[in-house]
């Protein structure tokens, strides 16, 4: 690990992680981003804001989430696996951490209308939940293809009082839902708060989503020390779509001597052309307001990703991950649909936990031969969400009719 991480202090004032990040948005959003940054800076220093957030995290979402030593799979693989149980959060995934933080910001800014994009529906559900909690109007943009794949989450959002707007442009998935949310925001910027679900988008979003998710790593750090008797784990592992659960786990350890691994979705295989392995196969580009790494063709058109997990089915990645990859601080691996499916069943059978298909990618890495994990290492894996939402997808993949 290089010395540059001893005093890690990115993004810079312009929202850049060196060449990544920034604000590549239509002019009308610039004042809104500046306003958001100003409110966020003030909120960070305001104790009553932090108290409110901590209260909700504890009493509404049920934090802290457990750090569970998974003894069965540890024994099988010959190293110690600790699962950070974000699946135990209210609404079933880490997404609520960020949604609670941002809804308090939206209230502080006096915004009455909340918009969000969603892929798998987990962020949409988290946003609909916190909007219901505070009685705010909520509109969630979701691709038609994802609506088809995730009917259950669409109905959950409806029950929570949110309007789910189908997006029929482009690939009809998360990328296009994000485009549509940005178009809504450009149009209604004065009344509307855009509650982004991952460490993506223009500055300050990648920073503030990371900060709100950092509760994952901060808790895990203390819990690990208390429970293991060791000072620090040897390795952290998390799956990456946009990268918010990963940044949340990694960030509090960034200047520690800990190996860090992100796992992308290799879909049907890295050479198949049908994957979402942005850092492994993508190149430098600008999408959804930030410079980062993209799946794109030679003409700079964004290409369609594929993953069995709707939450990883995204052609971009958060700018900070692009930076951590280029600087070598974090190593990025990938796992295929099949490996994720296998890991899904493996954890269910061995530990009695159904992981989200997203999180199953991180688990799949543990079982790969070339992962570099030495025996007796202590590895913390972010179990970012629970797998109940994925049982239809898994059944279909296994050829079982429910």
């Amino acid at each position: 690990m290089g010395n540059q991480f001893k005093n890690y202090n990115l993004p810079d004032e312009r929202g850049h992680f060196e060449k990544f990040g920034g604000k590549f948005v239509p002019e009308s959003l610039i004042p809104a981003l500046e306003e958001l940054e100003q409110y966020y800076t003030e909120a960070k220093q305001d104790e009553s804001f932090q108290d409110k957030l901590n209260y909700l995290l504890k009493h509404y979402s049920g934090r802290e989430t457990a750090l569970y030593f998974a003894s069965q799979i540890s024994e099988e693989l010959g190293f110690n696996i600790w699962l950070k149980r974000e699946d135990l959060n209210h609404t079933g995934a880490h997404k609520i951490n960020n949604a609670l933080g941002q809804i308090l910001l939206a209230r502080r800014m006096g915004k009455k209308r909340i918009i969000a994009e969603t892929g798998a529906g987990q962020h949409g559900v988290a946003t609909a939940t916190v909007a219901a909690l505070f009685g705010l109007e909520c509109i969630v943009y979701m691709g038609e293809e994802d609506i088809r794949r995730q009917k259950l989450n669409v109905f959950r959002m409806n029950l929570l009082g949110a309007e789910v707007r189908p997006v029929s442009s482009g690939s009809m998935t998360l990328k296009d839902a994000t485009n549509e949310a940005i178009r809504d925001w450009v149009t209604n910027v004065e009344s509307t708060y855009y509650l982004i679900g991952s460490t993506v988008g223009p500055h300050p979003y990648p920073m503030l989503v990371r900060d709100f998710q950092s509760v994952i790593g901060a808790e895990a750090k203390t819990q690990f020390t208390n429970q293991s008797g060791h000072n620090l784990p040897d390795r952290l592992v998390a799956c990456i779509g946009g990268g918010s659960n990963a940044m949340g786990l990694f960030y509090p350890f960034i200047n520690n001597d800990v190996k860090i691994v992100g796992v992308e979705a290799a879909g049907k295989g890295l050479e198949s052309g049908e994957h979402a392995a942005t850092l492994t196969k993508g190149s430098f580009g600008v999408l959804h307001g930030a410079a980062s790494t993209l799946l794109q063709n030679d003409d700079g058109q964004v290409t369609l990703p594929h993953s069995i997990s709707a939450g990883l089915d995204y052609p971009g990645i958060g700018p900070e991950h692009s930076y951590l990859n280029e600087s070598g601080r974090v190593q990025y691996f990938s796992a295929t649909d099949q490996e994720a499916l296998d890991a899904f069943q493996w954890l269910s059978e061995k530990e009695g936990i159904l992981p989200a298909l997203e999180s199953a990618h991180a688990l799949a890495y543990l079982r790969q031969n070339n992962n570099g994990i030495e025996s007796d290492e202590n590895v913390i894996v972010c179990l970012s969400g629970r797998g109940d939402k994925d049982v239809h997808t898994v059944a279909e993949a296994l050829g079982i009719k429910l």
Partner: protein
């Protein structure tokens, strides 16, 4: 002096139609731009199709997707502009999202602009904060970067944007995307007066403009009117778009 700079020295009504390159057919743009120039267009804006056009409404989005399906690329656009330049001297601005330009590389992209005869560039997702290196290089090569301002852009920022642009800026008429409805005339004229007072360059207005009355009104309150969605709406892929577009532009110019 490039064609845009020259045009905006002339105190006359200006109409700037927009065409998505490669729409409705891959080779339509050459004919459409020449027809527009014949019909009295003072400058044309040619859109580079992009997979994720965030500032565009449904009409231009659909045309952009169709153009990509037709096989349109930046290289083909430059080849077509070379053909256009054999026939007309109308000022041409390319409108495009930043990623395809970044992928080609600033230097290569701008050299292609120079050699094919492009005069200006409109990049809706490259705001002041990120635009400086690209704009400086463009100006060095004699291409006008046409930066955008919006109704919520503060006075001082309008000034700074126009300074970086140098020759011309583009005032987005509304908070919104292309093809949206216009705000009230009172709010609009207050905003455009503010742009007039703070910009050191001439400025054109676009988004939601689609009639002869609009063109007259916006020319009274700015230095030119851009018409996009209303023109694209007039085309369909199954018939020859040239004559209807020509007639529509003549209507907008008030010559029929």
């Amino acid at each position: 002096m490039n064609r845009i700079k020259k045009l905006f020295c002339e105190p006359k009504e200006k109409l700037i139609p927009f065409f998505t390159a490669g729409y409705p057919k891959l080779d339509s743009t050459i004919k459409l731009v020449c027809a527009a120039a014949d019909a009295g267009a003072d400058m044309v804006e040619i859109g580079i199709p992009f997979s994720d056009p965030q500032a565009d409404g449904p009409v231009i989005q659909a045309s952009s997707q169709q153009a990509l399906d037709n096989g349109m690329t930046l290289n083909i656009i430059f080849e077509q502009i070379i053909e256009i330049r054999k026939k007309t001297d109308v000022p041409i601005a390319l409108m495009g999202y930043y990623n395809p330009i970044l992928k080609m590389g600033h230097e290569t992209f701008l050299n292609n602009c120079v050699s094919s005869g492009v005069d200006g560039l409109i990049l809706p997702d490259l705001p002041l904060e990120e635009a400086v290196p690209f704009c400086e290089l463009a100006k060095e090569k004699g291409i006008s970067p046409i930066l955008l301002v919006a109704p919520n852009t503060p006075d001082n920022r309008i000034k700074n944007i126009s300074k970086l642009a140098g020759d011309l800026i583009y005032a987005v008429s509304i908070l919104g995307i292309t093809g949206n409805d216009l705000a009230s005339k009172d709010a609009l004229s207050e905003y455009l007066n503010r742009v007039r007072e703070n910009s050191i360059t001439p400025f054109v207005v676009g988004f939601g403009i689609g009639s002869r009355e609009d063109v007259i009104w916006f020319n009274e309150h700015s230095d030119g009117a851009v018409v996009g969605s209303a023109i694209i709406k007039n085309m369909s892929s199954d018939s020859n778009p040239v004559q209807p577009v020509k007639t529509f532009i003549q209507k907008l110019k008030g010559t029929v």
